[in-house]
Amino acid sequence: MKKDMPYSVLQRERQFSGSDRVTLVALLLAAALPLLTSNILVQSVASQALIGFCGALAVHLMLRLGLLNFSVPGFMAVGGYAAAIAAEYGVQDLFALLGIAFSAPVVLAIPIGWIVLRLKGVYFVLVTYLLTEIVQLVIVETPSLTGGTNGLIGFPPTTFFGTELISGPAVYYTCYAAAIVALFVALWSTRSYGDIYDSQAHNETLAQSLGLDTARYKAQAFPVSAGVAGLGGFALVQLLITAHPLSFTAASSVNYIAYVLIGGAASLLGALLGTVVLVTAITQFSWSGEYSLGLFGLLLIFSVLFMRDGVVGVFTKIAHTIRGRNQLAYPATQGDPT
């Protein structure tokens, strides 16, 4: 092989994208929410959005690999219950509990991932759905550990350097801590492996043909997604002060998926926007009544058909239109497809 001076360097893109920056800044600003308003309702909705964001991130991380993950509530339950049980055994420190809520699902997801990740597309969807159902059944069948159908109530409160986190803003910050950790994990994961995940999602065979061991990266992404979900589960248990099986039903997995798809599946910002929009819509401006499920269905249909890139996609399109950029700006190329 010739040893010429390299003419050009093909370096991997590993910077944050613009939308990642916006996401991070938005979440950092959210820390100031309790300072801006003492409105408990706003804090409560925001807490729910932060929890939903963790779930949405867990969905997003697997969707990056082209896999639709229905196991999010299952792993949320694992994280939430693990932390609640640890609290009963005297672990109250926020950081320790965050660690437990993250690592318990990770540990469980490693062997499960080995099984699940051999499955393609739709099989993965259905099996992850079953996983959540199994977690539900296991909770119901193990009342001595999990409280069974009654759930766990009355575990000691979480502490932050010895201070009990029980006031409204404190609970908000507990959820916030979970969400920010989840975001950093997601940023690390997408920044380090974004191109690998994207390649697997769009042309796994090509990636393998070049020498990429795709199985390894899938096996790595699944536990990370599970851990992120676990953080959300921890926050949910803290918000409700209860670990209850009904908080983690298989049906609720659809919500987290909807957050991501409606916000925009391509970016972390999509997950954030989708969560904020839907959580606010559902809890506050409750298009309630008997129509609510049907309206939710219509929203899903509409966004799948007409908003393929979600809310973020719509914004991007508007921004492009305003800047007057369009497809013709690219250099024309010769040749047509046969």
Binding site: S44, V45, T149, N150, I166, T242, Q284, L293
Partner: protein
């Protein structure tokens, strides 16, 4: 400057949230929360509860309202939909806390109640709830009241009456394996056992649509009677239908959960249902029907069909009476103190008492006269009015 911009950004959101409360400006008003499922499958329970509360509020307001240190104040109900979920109920409690509400009527289902209690306790709210959970109330929740007795209160008298009639020696109880089932089935089982009836418990997976296998299993032990306790209505109907198809001729009980009519429809009519006995939280007699007329007169609307309307009407009257005597809508502890001491004597529903000590360890369960129903050989018999349950 920056802060102002942010506030501007939030202003529409805050405005919208406040508008939800429908903040009409009154000289003086006290707010009471009404929390329940006002949409979705359980909406009929929530709407009936809300109407009961509306009736009581209208009555008290017509009589001058609640005396406070600001003078006599009108009661204003702040209604929040939980969509029958724990999260929804917790969020509802948070938003009520935001409005400074200290007294809450509802919610009406076990999942909601388990969601609202911890949050309400944190904000020191007085709760009047309905739930079949075995920890619905308790010493841990000194401000939580139970609107009507759980199975621990009424199961025994009903079992006694059923035994008188059918003389069954062994009973199988069938319940779903969720909180609604696992919390109530053992309590009902205890009532049967106390009457010397041999009892077996069977649980089914929630969401089961076809009970052939379970029915076969249950009938193998040849029970004299089968009790569906708190099984949801559709599941109860399917179970009853399949039991009858499989040749079970004994009486079917339903000690918990409403829905006799719907169950009969699923089975294929009362004829097909055969012998059936059930618990009815309240007997709507002539006296009770006066509440319906009063509601029409005070609010101009028709009251809902669901019998929860009468139950919650009576319970709301008690809570408002306690507020009146405590001269506050804020001091939840004082209100709770007055509530515990109130004589339970509803003009329309009848005399009752506070029970709960022996089962829950706290005497905060409202016991009113209740009903028991029989369907005999396909004939619906009039409800039997039973006196309010007492502690064992």
């Amino acid at each position: 400057m920056k802060k102002r911009e942010t506030t501007k950004l939030f202003a529409p959101i805050l405005g919208a949230i406040l508008a939800l409360g429908g903040s009409a400006v009154h000289a003086c008003e006290v707010k009471v929360g009404v929390v329940g499922p006002f949409s979705g499958g359980a909406a009929q329970w929530g709407v009936a509860m809300k109407s009961g509360a509306e009736l009581a509020a209208a009555e008290f307001n017509a009589a001058g309202g609640i005396p406070t240190d600001k003078g006599d104040c009108k009661i204003r109900l702040v209604e929040i939909d939980t969509q029958y979920s724990a999260q929804g109920a917790a969020a509802a409690a948070n938003s009520l806390a935001n409005e400074g509400v200290k007294v809450v009527l509802g919610p009406v289902g076990s999942p909601e109640v388990s969601g609202i209690k911890p949050v309400a306790a944190r904000h020191r709210m007085l709760l009047m709830v309905n739930s079949y959970a075995k920890d619905a109330i308790g010493p841990k929740w000194p401000l939580a009241f139970h609107v009507s007795p759980g199975a621990s209160g009424w199961a025994l008298p009903i079992v006694r009456k059923a035994k008188e009639r059918y003389g069954m020696k062994n009973v199988t109880i069938i319940a779903p394996n969720d909180q609604g089932g696992t919390d109530i089935a053992p309590v009902v089982a205890e009532a049967y056992t106390a009457e010397g009836i041999k009892t077996k418990e069977e649980y089914f997976q929630r969401g089961t649509a076809d009970f052939t296998a379970l029915v076969t299993r249950v009938l193998a032990s040849k029970p004299d009677a089968i009790d569906l306790v708190s099984s949801p209505t559709v599941e109860s109907g399917t179970l009853a239908k399949q039991l009858r198809v499989a040749g079970f001729r004994g009486p079917i009980g339903k000690l918990g959960g409403p829905g006799t009519e719907e169950i009969a429809r699923i089975v294929g009519g009362y004829e097909a249902l055969g012998d059936y006995y059930y618990f009815e939280p309240i007997v709507v007699d002539e006296e009770a029907l006066k509440m319906r007329d009063a509601y029409k007169e005070l609010t101009g609307k028709d009251s809902p069909e669901h019998t929860f309307f009468y139950l919650w009407g009576a319970a709301s009257r008690l809570v408002f009476q306690a507020m009146k005597e405590a001269q506050s809508a804020q001091d939840s502890e004082a209100i709770a103190e007055k509530l515990r001491a109130l004589d339970v004597k509803d003009p329309n529903i009848g005399e009752g008492l506070w029970i709960g000590q022996s089962f829950f360890g706290i005497n905060q369960e409202l016991s009113l006269p209740f009903g028991m129903g029989f369907v005999h050989n396909g004939q619906v018999e009039p409800l039997i009015k039973m006196p309010a349950a007492v502690d064992k």
